[in-house]
Symmetry: C2
Subunit: 204 residues, 2 copies
């Protein structure tokens, strides 16, 4: 009997603000604990729509939105990460998520995710824009033309739909969410708790 | 010119789950940093009602609610705090909040708050119940009869309404919320960040 390696599933949406600092720091924090990270891009939009929400709660609840933008500034400053408020917010993240799924099969998935988050939240780039996607793909050593073509294929679209369904099944209601074994941890603030849990440091 | 003492305003609702671990730990964490705590009981209900919500988001969003109960178990276990899910949830906290305001003028306010949170979330007591309130008041050295009478006076009711209005004005949308200078920090997970900020350890 072998012990499976400690892993955390990192569920994120490219449109999600707090997913940005998580994406930029999770590998370092995970490595420090001997934990592996599974990058799981998904879409929050369909899950919000289940609740009748047509936009981000940060837009639907103005006080919460104002808080979040200030909190992001503080968090990014503390981590020495650039931060610009993307316009529009939230960004359309479906194409980016499909590309990330293609990248998982080719080895550049996590690098693409980090570079796209950086372009979006440090650079203010529109992540649905073809030029942005081309530049980020080239930056991680991928060939933009074939990748973008593949990302539009039915199998990739279906794979992303299946990921959203899996997120629903797991009870995921926001991003980032971290899954350690059967335990969910929601929010960037709980990332280290999830990694600790996966590494065997558990309060229960 | 004197430097004002570092303080954090701790805004909480007795019905709020995550306010419980905050109430039980904030004085220790604040003292460690030389920070003073202003206990600010208020009511989230009117603020949720502004958004059209007639109950807690943990009831309105079942996945978020299921997550919260498990997360509370983990957090309380990690802090060695007892935990029982109160029934009903959320509890009716208006009377408790008025009593806490009376207590602020008499010196037993924070002790009452901690004891009532403990009765509610470790003991499963109904905090709107007269017997519960009597027992907790006696436990902190207050005389239940006069205190309960005073808590029903117009001036105390008005003081609580003014606190809710102040919370709204500050942009508070959940509990616990910590105010350090002009900076809001929302959630038990951000309590230490707020105390650090008040103590002068600031990323910005």
């Amino acid at each position: 009997m072998t012990t499976p390696a400690a892993t955390v599933d990192f569920w994120f949406d490219f449109a999600s603000t707090y997913s940005y600092p998580a994406a930029m720091t999770i590998e370092t924090e995970a490595a420090r604990r001997g934990v592996a990270v599974n990058w799981r891009p998904f879409l929050l939009g369909p899950i919000f729509a289940d609740l009748g929400w047509q936009s981000s709660p940060f837009n639907l609840q103005p006080a919460k939105g104002r808080y979040m933008w200030r909190d992001m500034e503080r968090i990014c400053a503390g981590l020495d990460l650039g931060f610009r408020r993307p316009d529009p917010f939230p960004q359309h993240s479906v194409r980016a998520a499909r590309i990330a799924l293609v990248g998982h099969g080719e080895g550049w998935g996590p690098a693409f995710c980090r570079a796209l988050f950086h372009a979006e939240f440090a650079g203010g780039a529109d992540i649905a824009n073809e030029t942005t996607l081309h530049a980020v793909l080239r930056g991680v050593g991928a060939d933009p033309g074939p990748v973008l073509a593949q990302s539009g294929e039915p199998a990739v679209k279906e794979a992303l739909r299946a990921e959203v369904e899996e997120a629903r099944r797991l009870g995921i209601f926001g991003a980032p969410t971290f899954l350690a074994g059967a335990e969910l941890f929601w929010g960037f603030d709980r990332m280290e708790a999830a990694l600790d849990w996966a590494a065997g440091r558990r309060p229960l």
